[in-house]
Every structure is written in C-alpha cells, then in structure tokens.
C-alpha cells in the first residue's frame, strides 16, 4: 500500500545504528483470521511468521496492531502447545512497535528535523492499550524542532477501522470515523500522524471525502522527514 512507511522505518532504524533485514518469507501476522475466530488458520500463519523471524535480535514493525498480535496474542494462541508457546514467547519478548523500540529500547531522544507543522496524533487502539504506546511517539515528535503537537479530547476513541469491522458494519464504522474526522478538523491541526496504516487509511479516506485539507502521514514518515511527498490519499492533481 504505502512502501514509504517501510522505507521511513528502515531509515529511522539505520540512523539509530541498527542493521535492518527484511525476511522475504514474511507474510501477514494472521490477525484477520484470529479476530474472525479461525484460530487454527491463525496458528498456521503464526508458525510461519515465527519461523521467518527466527534468529534476529529484534522484530520491529511500524504498527501497534501487528506488533500487538505477535507480542500479546501469539503466546495465547499456543497455550496448549508447549514447544510453540516457548517460541512464541521468545519472539514476543523481542518484538516492538517502531516508536517504542526507538524511544524505550534504543533510547533515542533527538530526531533530526526539519518539520514545521501543527500536528495532531491518533493513538491506534492496539498500540495504546495492548502495548502502552502513548508517550513514545509524542516524545519523539516533540524532539522535532518547531513541531507543535495539538492534543484532542477524543485521542483514545477508536476511529472505527477495526480490521474487517469497517466493511462488515459500514454504517457504524462510517459514523465513528466521521466523528473522528470532525474532531481532527476542529483541532486546527494541519497534519494527522498515527502509528497504524489501517486507521490512517480509514481516517484519511473520510477526511478526503469531506474535502478536508488536513494531511495524513504515518508517524515513521514524519519522523524520517518524508512529509515533502504525497500524504495518504493525496493525488498528483
């Protein structure tokens, strides 16, 4: 969908001194199957992900949702299988969402700018509640020179994406994302950043539909100084 998020992630990690590899055998984390109640299929996918990331020091993903699946739910999936549970636990302990990895594990305090904008942040639910990602992206964004962070009262409210939810219950999902888009518009921010592409596609889609000029980027793109390019849903005109 948006390779620039991956490229920004690599750039940030390399800036911080990491050697980055992208296993070719990796696929989706299996969350759609898991959340549909198809635990057997989810386990099968989880096994291939665990295999694909065997032997690395850390697994880092620019997504709270995928990381939450691996960190929190993989061990739960293998509760009755001691061998795979041990492997799932090991991977879980070494898996991090990007901003928490940068801030908590690597101790990055300063991100080289430049970025001048009024920015508001969307806390994606999985990152926020499953992984406790809240202060980390704000700390990193706050280190960008002259960036103004605008907080909103609805920051902890779901945007209505919810994986398959957004197409299974479109009316409710659209109501939720409309409320979210209105709150973002009302905040006076010029740019919305967040840590999960699913939520960002949903919110950007609603902002575009309503004719909003608020630009939408993944937090990795903002931190990597890539907001010169087109934001999510922006065309070449």
């Amino acid at each position: 969908m948006r390779p620039s998020v991956g490229l920004a992630t690599v750039k940030l990690l390399e800036q911080a001194g990491c050697r980055v590899e992208v296993p070719a055998a990796q696929v989706c984390c299996g969350q759609p199957a898991y959340n549909s109640g198809d635990f057997e299929r989810a386990r099968g996918i989880a096994r291939s992900v665990i295999d694909a990331f065997d032997g690395f020091d850390y697994l880092v993903a620019p997504s709270g949702s995928c990381t939450g699946m691996i960190r929190v739910h993989y061990p739960h999936l293998f509760e009755d299988d001691p061998n795979w549970r041990a492997r799932a636990m090991a991977l879980s302990a070494h898996s991090f969402e990007l901003t928490s990895f940068l801030a908590d594990v690597l101790g990055v305090e300063q991100i080289p700018g430049p970025c001048v904008t009024r920015l508001t942040y969307h806390d994606s639910c999985s990152g926020l509640r499953e992984l406790g990602v809240r202060a980390q992206p704000r700390r990193l964004l706050g280190s960008l020179p002259e960036l103004e962070l605008v907080e909103r009262a609805d920051a902890e409210v779901c945007c209505g994406f919810g994986g398959l939810f957004c197409v299974k219950y479109p009316e409710i999902s659209i109501k939720m994302v409309s409320d979210k888009a209105s709150a973002i518009e009302a905040s006076g921010a010029e740019l919305l950043a967040g840590g999960d592409l699913g939520c960002l596609l949903n919110i950007a889609g609603r902002l575009r539909r309503g004719g909003s000029t608020v630009r939408v980027f993944h937090v990795a793109e903002v931190l990597a100084g890539m907001t010169e390019g087109l934001g999510i849903g922006e065309g070449q005109g």
């Binding site: 969908m1 948006r2 390779p3 998020v5 991956g6 490229l7 070719a24 990796q26 696929v27 989706c28 759609p32 199957a33 898991y34 959340n35 549909s36 109640g37 198809d38 635990f39 299929r41 099968g44 996918i45 291939s48 739960h76 639910c125 999985s126 509640r129 499953e130 409210v157 779901c158 209505g160 994406f161 919810g162 994986g163 398959l164 939810f165 957004c166 197409v167 299974k168 219950y169 479109p170 009316e171 409710i172 659209i174 109501k175 939720m176 994302v177 409309s178 596609l201 949903n202 950007a204 889609g205 609603r206 575009r208 539909r209 087109l230 849903g233 922006e234 065309g235 070449q236 005109g237």
Partner: protein, 472 residues
C-alpha cells in the same frame, strides 16, 4: 443477498434518529468525564482493581461454599432462600410467594436480573400489578420499552420525551418542562404506590455471606422504600453476587460508584438482612431471596468464567464507541454493550443475533475501564471462535479467509499478486490520490474515500535495493 439481520436493521434506525443520537452523545460524554474525574483522584486505583479481580476470582473458585454460608445466615435471620436453575423457575417462585401473600400490587426496585428472567411480564401474566420505582425504570415501563442501559435504563430518552410521557400517563393538561418538576411529579405518583404495595422486589448489588445481608446502591432512595414498606420483600439475584464479608462488599462499592456514575458513593447504600425483628420499628414480615442460575454454573466451568466477575457498573457500555453510535436497544438484548455481547449468547442461547460478538473493533477500551479487569475483547473473540466452529460465521467471510489464508502460506505468490493489484490501483489512483468508489469495497467507499496505494510494494523496492547493493 440475505435480508439484513435484526441488529443491522435496529442499528441503521438508531443511526438515522437524531433525537436518539443527541441523547447518546450527551450521556456518553457525561459518564466518561465523571468517571475520569472520580477515578483520577484515586492513586490506588490499579491496586484496587487488582484486589477486586482477585476477590471475585476467589469467590468464583469457592462459590458453593459462600452461597451455602450466605443461605445459612439468611435462614438464621428468619428469611428464606430459593434456588432457581432457570428463568422460568425464578419467575414461578416469585409468583408463588406473591400469591401466598395474597398480593395485588408489587413495587419493584431496579433489578437487571428481573429483566433477565422476564419477571414483569410473568407477574402481569399471573394477574399481578407491577410498578417500577426507579425513575429511569419507571419511565421505560410507562413507554412500554426495555432498559437501554444497565444503570441508566432511560438514557436513550430526552427530557422532552419524558415530559410528554408523564403528561399522557399522569393525565395532565399542561406539560411539565423542568427536570426538578418531572422528578417531583414522579416522586408524588410513586410515593402513593409504595404505601399501597403488598410486595417489594429488589435486585442485589452484593450478597454478604458472613451476615446474610443484601446490599443495593441507589440514588433515589426507592430501594430503601421497596425493602421496608411492603409486607413482603423478595430479593432476586444472580448466584455470582455473593461476597465473603461486609468489608469485601465495601471494597467493591468503592469501585462500583466511581466506575458507574463517577460518584464516590451513591446517595443510598441499603443493607437488608432478613424480616423485621421483634424490636424493629419497620421492615417486612417475610424476607425471600431467589438465587438465579440461568447459565451461570455452566460459565463457571468454561472459558467465560471471568465474565462472572462483573459487578454491573456499566463502564464498558459508557466507553464503547459502538454503544455510543447505536444505543442499547439496537442490541436487542437485556444486557447491551460489551458485557452484554459476552453474556447474551450464554444466557439466551439460540435466541440472539449472531452479530453481537462481531460488532466490536477490539479497541479494548472496555477492558481498560473495567473495575474487575474482565478481558471483554478476548471473551468476544472466544464467541467468534465458537461461531466459526459451528459454521455461523457468514460464508463470504469464510471463503475470503480461506482464499487469503492459502495465499499467505505462499509468500512468493502473495508478493507477486499484491504487486499486481497494488500496482494497478496505484496507477489508476495516481491523479486523484483516492477512490470515491471501488468494486468489492462498496462498504468502504459508501462513506469515505479509499486512499490509492503508492504503486510499488515495499518488498519489491527492498529486493531491488538489495540487488543493487549486492551488485554495486
């Protein structure tokens, strides 16, 4: 295409109802802010939640023991305990008590378990008159509706709707408009009924094993009157309501009021333990407790046991964005919102919408605010697993999962295919940046654009860079 489920029909109607939307928005904002203020003042909140969770788990692990000692204490104080395995049993027991007492009019305090067992309809079917004494519940009764919220039954109603209802039922020419006037009006009508009721029925917030006491928390004092004025007091309660000691009950009360309405304590906390004693100045002559199982024993032995910790505070409803969007009635169940969607398929097997466990984004806010740390999203997912196993999951979703699952097992093919699809979409959407309509994604594009992909996939760019690096 199959007709929309009842849930979908009700949800669509709720979304299109501006009066309901206004009522919901106001209520949700109020509840969330009040709870945050009350709990923000408690630095020991996390420890309290942990202790409450441990306490409830301990009770559930020893439920038989605590229920027996509770029963012994009630009997010692001159009361009677009746065990009701099913809803029908519970209603039959209550009706028999009323008939033996020669009752005609029954005053009720708010009780969700009485809603669960369908008590009002059963009593009326037996020729008894029932009057709800909680203001919200009274409003709902006048409107011939069901509670849309477990602690605020009439939260879906606006003041204007209530004024209209009172005018019609109390037979006034003029319409009352102020909140204070409306409350005073209901109080006047209800006082009269309290004094003439033969039986008072209340629910229970806690049943105390060491004393045989029933604890209820209210804000209107109607619970007190229902317990003390009529000749007969009947408590209806789920078997999970028992706690070992008075101290345990107070520990949970500290969390209950704050989580529910943001109050440190509700206006009234009423303890009733048995019938009137020789030297008591008031109180009922008979005291009965009907303990309702209705699927709870089964939950005790399966993966849904944590749900029995629930103290019915309603915080999960108040923080649920789905509940906020569609309101309680859309669920078509006695218990709405997250806790309801976990409970309903268990308490009412076969009789409910398959939508309930699926109408959830797994945003997790319900679990975050739950005072007894019930993993509500996990329990909803367990219901989805049961639906998947039983073939209730819609065929389209199953096929999509199977197809996608097969692709995911072949990373090479997956990458080639995504490269094509994403590449084509990227090319098509390059100028506009987003699609106003996409086939197969009509549910997405109905109310929002679909942002166009950038074009190449990350894997493709990365492999190319790697090749250049190797060759260069």
């Amino acid at each position: 295409m199959a007709a929309a489920s009842l849930f979908r029909q009700r949800a669509a109607a709720a979304l299109a109802d501006p009066t309901l939307q206004a009522a919901l928005a106001r209520a949700q904002d109020g509840f969330v802010a009040k709870r945050a203020r009350a709990l923000g003042a408690l630095p020991e909140l996390e420890r309290m939640r942990e202790e409450a969770c441990t306490l409830k788990d301990h009770v559930l692990a020893n439920l038989d023991r605590y229920l027996e000692s509770y029963e012994a204490q009630v009997v010692r104080r001159g009361g009677q305990v009746h065990w009701a395995p099913t809803r029908e049993d519970a209603c039959r027991i209550v009706i028999e008590i009323c008939q033996r007492a020669g009752a005609r009019l029954i005053a009720k305090g708010k009780s969700m378990v009485s809603e669960e067992i369908g008590l009002n309809a059963a009593l009326e079917g037996a020729g008894l008159e029932v009057i709800e004494t909680d203001l919200g519940e009274y409003i709902v009764q006048l409107a011939k509706e069901r509670p849309s919220h477990i602690i605020a039954p009439a939260v879906h109603k606006t003041r204007e709707q209530i004024a209209e209802l009172f005018q019609r039922h109390h037979g006034y020419r003029e319409r009352l408009t102020g909140v204070a006037e409306l409350v005073a009006d209901a109080r006047m009508v209800l006082r009269e009924r309290f004094l003439s009721a033969d039986v008072g029925i209340t629910g229970a917030n806690f049943l105390v094993a060491e004393t045989g006491s029933n604890v209820i928390v209210t804000n209107e004092g109607n619970g007190d009157l229902t317990c003390t004025l009529p000749r007969v007091h009947i408590v209806t309660a789920g078997i999970e309501k028992v706690v070992p000691t008075l101290e345990d009950a107070t520990a949970l009360i500290r969390l209950l009021g704050r989580s529910a309405t943001g109050q440190e304590m509700t206006s009234y906390t009423t303890f009733s333990s048995g019938p009137r004693r020789a030297d008591d100045r008031d109180g009922p002559q008979e005291y009965h407790v009907v303990l309702v199982d209705n699927g709870r024993s089964e939950m005790l032995g399966n993966r849904f046991r944590p749900m029995l910790r629930c103290i019915r505070c309603g915080a999960c409803l108040n923080h649920c964005p789905i509940y906020a969007a569609v309101g309680g009635h859309a669920y078509g169940a006695i218990y709405p919102g997250p806790m309801g969607s976990v409970l309903t398929p268990i308490l009412f097997p076969g009789g409910t919408d398959a939508d309930l466990p699926n109408v959830c984004t797994f945003n997790g806010r319900c679990q975050q605010v739950c005072p007894v740390k019930i993993p509500l999203p996990d329990l909803l997912r367990e219901h989805r697993e049961i639906q998947y196993q039983r073939g209730i999951t819609p065929p389209r979703q199953r096929w999509a999962l199977a197809l996608w699952g097969a692709l995911v097992r072949h990373p090479r093919l997956y990458q080639i295919l995504t490269r094509w699809v994403v590449g084509a979409l990227g090319l098509a959407g390059r100028r506009q940046g987003s699609f106003r309509y996409l086939p197969f994604l009509g549910n997405w594009t109905a109310g929002r654009d679909f942002p166009a992909p950038q074009g190449p996939t990350f894997q493709a760019i990365w492999r190319k860079q790697e090749r250049t690096r190797r060759n260069g």
